[in-house]
Structures are given as C-alpha cells and as structure tokens.
C-alpha cells in the first residue's frame, strides 16, 4: 500500500455545500486549498450526483474553484489527527497524510434512526438513504414507498422519489399539524424558502401528509412488506416495497471531538468567524446547527474567508447568516421528537445493529460506557453512529469521548504511517 503526503494552506474536511463554499472563498487568495471527502465525488448528501450536472447549483459553486490552486481528494476518509496540523486518511488503495495550516471542518450530518419492531428488515432505511441509493442507480419507478419519521428531509425526498416514478403512498410525520403550521409561518420570513415550500407543495400534491403519526412495526420476511403506523389513536397497515424512515439529522462531530473542539448541545461551538475552540480550526455547515443548504453556503464562505484572514469580507456575510440561523432554530422547534417515540421499541427490539444488542439488554445498564462494556453496544464498525443517537434519546445517555481511529481502518494503513516515523510497534 502506497503512502502519500500532501500539504495545504487550507484543508477542508467534507465536500458538501459548506466545504465547497469554504473552498471557493479561500481559493481566491491564491493559497493552496484541499477538500477531502469519502464519497467518490464531492457534493456531500444533498448535492450527491449534482456536481456532474452542469446546470445545478452544485456545479456553479464547483466552477468557482476552476483556475485556483484547489485539489479535490475524493474517495478519502479521515480517521485520525496524530499531531496538530496533520490528518491521516485512507482510500481504497492508499493511506495519506494531510498537512494543513488552517483546517475547516464541514463533515455534515447523518440521519437519526430510532428503533422499532422490524426496523432491521431489508428495504427499511433512512429517507436520505433511499434518495442516495436512487441517485446511485436503484430503480424506484413503480415501487411503493412509505416515508416516516420527522423533518423537512421527508418532504424533499418524497418529492424527489415521486419525480422519479415512485408510488409515494404517504408521509407519516411525527410532528403535529400545529408544529408544522408554525414552521410554515416562519418560512414567510425567508424569501427563497417560501418559494421552495410552494414548489414542494405542488410536487407533493396527491401524496397524503399525515401528522402526529409514527411507526409501530415493519412487517415482512427478510425484506419489508408492510408497515403499521400509529395515527390519531389507531393503527393503519400500509403495504410497501420500501420504508424510508429517519428522524431528522444529527451532526457528524467525531473528527471535531477528536481534534478537541468544544461542543455545545451536541454541535460544534463556533465564534462569529466560524472559529472553533482550537486555534486554526474552523467549522461550517450542519456541524454547527442543522439549518439546510443556504445556511451551510453562508457559513462555509465565512469560514473560508476567516481562514485566509479576510475578516471584513467575512463580516459582510453576518447579516445573511443571522437570517438563516432563525430558520434553523424554527426547524429545531418544529420537528422536536415527541415523548411517545421513547416507547417505540419493546425489549426484544435490536438497538445496536452491529452487535445485535436489544433494548431489553441495554436498559439493564446505567450508562453508555457500562452498556458498551457489558453488551458490546457501540463497539461495532459504526462506532455508535447509529445506536448512539437512539440511546441518547431513549435513555438520556451521553456518549464516551472519541478515540482514533474514528472510522474502521485497514491495519496496513495504521502500520505504514507509523513505520514512516519510527520503528515502533503499533499496539
């Protein structure tokens, strides 16, 4: 396995909207900028596949990087910061050491999964996940899809799937109609968002949106065949080929934690220049709060400008950021998880999918750490990324501190990197 070393003035981890906007802002200085992302192409989740389409917003942002000293390191996953100023990453054919002067973290968010009976059946997956798979070639035309969980992502995915020929049977949203209405009112203050909301309404016409509804059980043999939803005090069973169920988003804070960035309420805490508590480390996008694409683009630009010392230009964007942050706060309130969701999982429901640990096994312990040591919950390859947010909500547990490697990594990529420095054994 070949090991390489790259140097950047500004290194950006995460090639979604925030990362690309940060690169566009930082590159104008002529400094050497790098974006590292673990997908085959940049774009992150919401812009997945879009960068290849010349008329997309993603492509127009990427175009700003042309002609500047910017390197896109796609297919590369960061797993450690062995010393300040150096990240270690791996791809399928090599390990890489990435040196930086300034670092911008834009590692985005992932869906929150809450366990319920049958959630481990095949074709039960996240809402963003189903969209990602369709973007990656999954045929969906004519397939019956039920969406469940919570968040504006459900609406966006429903519209996308419908546009690709899926039979979207219904959207079962756990928030109440009143919560959504308040959120709708907040959209009035946000010009672009209102336009989006109206076009979404048109795209979604004909698809029932049922509020105050949540999954009771997915049924099937191997793969899901139907889902039972609770609505209005009774149960409804709906046949489906796919159950796309996600409960909003949680930030991917593992690298930020590893580096030592201070978190607040589970998000990376930043100052007005998107600076974290660590010197020379900035943060932008869903990592600071779940606020959507527009906020990510503004935060990314502020972070990029701050990283190159262009504070006055950064200040020019503070007003736009303030406006979009109020949207993020409205999002939070509208889609807060209701208490009934704490009772979705009876004792025999698997919570940790990597190690098949059930809810009943977990409730015998008082903390994440104790549960991990006794049941192996959180010790599997996802490192608690799936079961962690679930146990936080269900049991109020806070997760352990983060240790490297923050993703499972091939042993040869650990060993080689060490052998370059000293001839010590890796324990």
């Amino acid at each position: 396995m070949v090991s390489t070393r790259k140097q950047f003035d500004v290194l950006i981890v995460g090639g979604g909207p925030a990362g690309i906007a940060a690169a566009a802002a930082a590159a104008q200085s002529g400094k050497r900028v790098g974006i590292v992302d673990d997908n085959a192409a940049v774009g992150g989740q919401i812009w997945r596949g879009d960068t290849a389409q010349s008329d997309s917003e993603a492509a127009s942002w990427l175009a700003k990087l042309h002609g500047w000293d910017v390197e896109l390191c796609a297919g590369m996953r960061v797993f450690d910061q062995p010393t300040e100023g150096v990240l270690r990453a791996e791809s399928t054919d090599r390990a890489c050491e990435l040196e930086y002067t300034k670092l911008i973290l834009a590692t985005g968010a992932r869906e929150r999964f809450l366990p319920f009976p049958g959630w481990t059946l095949q074709n039960v997956l996240g809402a963003g996940a189903l969209q990602a798979l369709v973007k990656s070639g999954l045929p969906i035309s004519g397939k019956r899809v039920v969406l469940g969980g919570t968040g504006p992502l459900l609406l966006a995915v429903a519209a996308y799937l419908k546009n690709h020929g899926a039979r979207v049977v219904g959207i079962y949203e756990q928030a109440s109609r009143a919560s959504l209405a308040t959120f709708g009112l907040k959209l009035v203050g946000q010009k672009g968002k209102l336009g989006q909301a109206f076009s979404l309404r048109k795209e979604l016409s004909g698809i029932p949106l049922i509020t105050s509804a949540w999954p009771v059980a997915a049924k099937g043999d191997g793969a899901v065949r139907s889902v039972v939803m609770s609505r209005g005090g009774s149960h409804e069973e709906i046949a489906c080929d796919y159950l796309a169920c996600g409960f909003h988003l949680v930030p991917n804070t593992e690298l930020a934690s590893l580096i030592g960035c201070h978190l607040q309420n589970g998000f990376v805490h930043v100052d007005q220049f998107q600076g974290t508590s660590r010197p020379n480390v900035f943060c932008a996008g869903e990592l600071t709060s779940i606020g959507g694409v527009e906020l990510s683009l503004v935060e990314g630009q502020i972070a990029g400008l701050s990283a190159i010392g262009a504070k006055d230009s950064a200040r020019d964007l503070f007003g736009a950021r303030r406006k979009m942050r109020s949207f993020a706060e409205a999002l939070d309130r509208a889609f807060a998880l209701r208490p009934e969701l704490k009772h979705l999982a009876p004792a025999e429901t698997i919570v940790c999918r990597c190690e098949d640990v059930t809810y009943g096994q977990l409730t015998q312990h008082r903390s994440w750490r104790a549960a991990k040591l006794h049941t192996r919950c959180g010790m599997g390859p996802c490192q608690g990324r799936i079961c962690g947010p679930a146990t936080q909500f269900l049991l109020g547990w806070t997760l352990d501190s983060v240790r490297p490697p923050i993703f499972p990594v091939a042993l040869q990529n650990l060993v080689e990197a060490h052998e370059q420095k000293e001839h010590t054994l890796v324990m």
Binding site: A40, Q122, G222, D356
Partner: protein, 81 residues
C-alpha cells in the same frame, strides 16, 4: 445513464446502469449484503458509508462499503448473506 454494465454477485451475473453503486447491484441480485450476529439478513440503512450494513467483498477486498463504491465492468462481488 442508459449504458449497462455487467458484474457478478455471488457468482451470478447482474446487469446495472453505468454509475450504479455496488449496493444497488447487490439489491438487484435480490441478495442481502450481510448476515448479522444473530442471523438476520441485512441491507443498506444509511446510504452514506456510516452504518456498515452494506459491507461486502469486492474483487477480493473485504468489508467494503458498497453504497460508496461504483460498479466497474467485471467486478466480483461477494456477500455473506
């Protein structure tokens, strides 16, 4: 994206649209990606390389996150499910 490419999943030939991920090829073969600790067949959950439910062996390399890898003509994909 109408060009089709041929791969094999557990020895069976599967055709997918060019650019499809390996996870999609596995789903097209109506196979599960892996079998869990307690024997459950599993497929992709997160679609973004975090949950590891989609992991499969690709051209001899084990534990590849199939949802993040594009199919190449002639790829040999093996699942344990």
């Amino acid at each position: 994206m109408s060009e089709q490419i041929a791969v094999s999943v557990n020895g069976r030939p599967v055709t997918v649209a060019a650019g499809s991920s390996v996870a999609v090829a596995i789903m097209a073969a109506v196979a599960s990606c892996r079998t869990s600790v307690s024997g459950q067949p599993r497929g992709p959950l997160c679609g973004m390389g975090i949950c590891f439910e989609c992991r499969a062996q690709i051209d001899g390399a084990a534990h590849q996150r199939s949802c993040q890898i594009a199919c190449k003509a002639g790829m040999e994909i093996k699942t344990d499910g």
